[in-house]
């Protein structure tokens, strides 16, 4: 197992390098001049040129990339062009909020989807099954930015159940939690619909397996058949799906963070893009790439716990 993890971490290196190349190229190709933006539209061209030189923007792109990479390898992702704050500091400051939101969304997904999916499968074509089908279609057909706005309007503005936006520090108090509820639902509920359907079909498939018949034939009762014998097998494809969902969970969290003014990396990224704050864009994207890769590694590790037939050596 350890060997496998080491191998996966080694494979991560070229992947992350590739990501940095892509990001740098995209930034180089994107329109807009940070120096011009920093100094305003009417700035003196000489001043702009001076600032460009200061920022290192006049160097050829591949040299700029090498410079950035050398620094990055030493843990220095540069400074924000706008505020001069080190990019690493910005990320460290925002990371907890992003992770909070991600885990809360994930929790909502699992809490809704797993029981509902199992019940739908066990009572196929019952009212629960039909209701969960409707539920799934309802959430699936809802874009997350729109859902976020509607939740905000109804539950925060209209009924005042939850705070409108922002975050009240770490998740240690009810107040802090209350800020998280709406963003987490906006981000998680939609995927819960998809996950419910997946759980249902996965469970249905498992319920037709020979070993489920064996288990029933042992007279151990339906609960044991479903939970001890069915669930664990049915979870295996679900875990795969969760792994695949991580990138989209992140991209939609960027939008949700903006709508709810949730101070995570997503908002940082959007602000930075608008201001052509390239070092920040580069740093945050890199961080996202690392999160996705690590999440996939965790999924694969979870696999080997669920399915003893998978051994990574």
């Amino acid at each position: 197992m350890l060997k496998y993890i080491i191998r996966r971490l080694l494979v991560m290196v070229p992947v992350v390098l590739g990501v940095t190349v892509v990001i740098s190229t995209l930034i180089y190709l994107s329109p807009g001049n940070p120096a011009q933006i920093a100094l305003g539209q009417n700035a003196n061209p000489e001043a702009v040129a001076r600032l460009e030189q200061q920022m290192g923007l006049n160097k050829p792109p591949h040299l700029r990339y090498v410079d950035w990479l050398t620094q990055a390898l030493q843990g220095n992702l540069g400074r924000s062009l706008e505020t001069g704050t080190p990019v690493t500091d910005l990320i460290v400051e925002r990371l907890p909020a992003t992770l909070e939101l991600a885990f809360a969304s994930l929790a909502i997904m699992l809490v809704i989807a797993l029981p509902l999916g199992v019940v739908s499968a066990v009572r196929q074509y019952s009212w629960v099954d039909n209701a969960s089908m409707l539920f799934a279609i309802f959430w699936l057909s809802m874009p997350s930015f729109w859902l976020a706005l509607i939740l905000l309007l109804l539950f925060a503005v209209h009924w005042d159940f939850f705070p409108i936006s922002g975050r009240a520090g770490a998740l240690l108090s009810v107040t802090a939690l209350s800020y998280l509820v709406l963003p987490a639902i906006a981000n998680g509920a939609r995927r819960a619909g998809l996950l419910t359907r997946m759980m249902r079909s996965s469970m249905l498939e498992i319920l037709n397996k020979d070993y489920i018949r064996t288990a029933k034939g042992k007279g151990i009762g339906q609960r044991s058949v479903i939970y001890s014998h069915g669930m664990r097998n049915a979870m295996i494809p679900i875990v795969t799906l969760l792994g695949l969902q991580v990138p989209s969970l992140i991209s939609s969290s960027v939008i949700v963070e903006v709508v709810f003014a949730w101070p995570g990396m997503g908002r940082l990224l959007v602000d930075a893009v608008l201001r052509r704050d390239y070092p920040v864009v580069q740093g945050v994207t890199l961080m996202y790439a690392v999160i996705v890769i690590v999440a996939n590694l965790l999924v694969d590790i979870a696999y080997s716990y669920l399915d003893p037939q998978i051994s990574y050596d």
Binding site: K3, I6, R7, L10, D313
Partner: protein, 338 residues
């Protein structure tokens, strides 16, 4: 192995005219592992097998799952590339044949598989399935192909009305008839049948075995008949070859193999077959354990850990040669007893 001085036997005499000569054939599958997914070992599915098949005879090939019998059949038809050794068909080496040569060989060497449901393309009609090899392997005219198609469909016991149907509309036995018609469409000389009746019920199996025999008589076919079912093999074969863990254990004319088996594995295999008559179980040899992994076969004789007639260290150290027994060139066996 020499078949030069064949002694006659109950089996009847055959001219020494091998259509197929397999020499020291090996097929190893690599096992990947480690951090860089390098090859860390080999599954030695077929490990140095030599034998001949005479023109017009049926050689039965028996052994348990994992003994390499199917891989041997597939390698002989070059559906797998051989690791080393040669398979000579009519004097040409199948394992090194060029693409063009292979086409000519394929016309003469055809295969029938175990599961007709999965070996027939579900999106083709029966007539497409049967004419397909003729189109790709021969330059026959359309009318010649059609004549052959109509002739074959009757010969395998189906009718013209079946031609436009899809395979799934047929029972297992009928599907196997279609598979047989496909294999025979290009007039092959040699047919490799890999467990052709294992997926079928006994009464249907009887039909298919009868059909294979009839077709053999009519077209003077040579068969390699692969099966795990010794009763079936006895029924259809002239000679039988027993494999264990990728190696030949014993080859003998059918009657002789069943009446006077030499290799301890053959004997155990024969005694394991359920028999209808009472008292058959009294002297049954029940082997201990299971077939070891072909990844890491035992040293010496591969059968020694399970052998009921283990002699001593020689079994553990030296892999026995395949040698004639009882002074008969047509009965060979790989065992230190002989």
């Amino acid at each position: 192995m020499s078949t030069q001085e064949r002694t006659t036997d109950t089996d009847g005499e055959r001219p020494d005219d091998p259509i197929v000569r397999v020499h020291e054939l090996e097929k190893h599958f690599p096992i990947k592992g480690g951090i860089l997914q390098r090859t860390v070992g080999h599954v030695r599915a077929v490990d140095g097998v030599s034998f001949d098949i005479q023109t017009g005879e049926t050689l039965g090939l028996v052994g348990e799952s994992g003994c390499g019998k199917s891989t041997l059949g597939r390698t002989m038809a070059r559906l797998e590339e051989a690791t080393s050794g040669s398979v000579e068909f009519d004097g040409r080496d199948v394992t090194t044949a060029s693409k063009r040569e292979l086409k000519a060989i394929r016309r003469n060497v055809q295969m029938i598989f175990q599961d007709p449901a999965s070996s027939l393309n579900p999106r083709m009609t029966v007539s497409q399935i049967i004419t397909e090899p003729m189109r790709s392997l021969t330059d026959w005219s359309k009318s010649k192909r059609e004549d052959r198609l109509y002739q074959l469909i009757e010969e395998v016991g189906l009718s013209k009305a079946h031609l436009s149907r899809a395979p799934h509309e047929f029972s297992g036995g009928q599907q196997q008839r279609v598979a047989i018609a496909r294999a025979l469409s290009v007039n092959p000389q040699f047919v490799i049948a890999d467990e052709p009746t294992s997926a079928l019920d006994v009464s249907v199996q009887a039909d298919i075995l009868n059909l294979l025999k009839d077709l053999q008589d009519e077209y003077d076919l040579t068969y390699l008949f692969i099966s795990h079912d010794l009763s079936v093999v006895r029924h259809i074969s002239d000679r039988v070859m027993v494999m264990y863990l990728g190696e030949v254990a014993e080859i003998a004319p059918t009657e002789r193999l069943f009446d006077a088996p030499k290799h301890p594995y053959t004997r155990a295999l024969l005694s394991s077959i359920p028999r209808a008559s009472a008292g058959a179980m009294d002297d049954r040899i029940v082997l201990e354990g299971t077939v070891p992994s072909p990844e890491d076969p035992p040293d010496g004789c591969r059968f020694h850990p399970r052998c009921q007639e283990y002699i001593g260290e020689v079994c553990e150290r030296t892999d026995p040669e395949v040698e004639p027994v009882d002074g008969r060139a047509d009965h060979v066996c790989a065992c230190h007893h002989y």
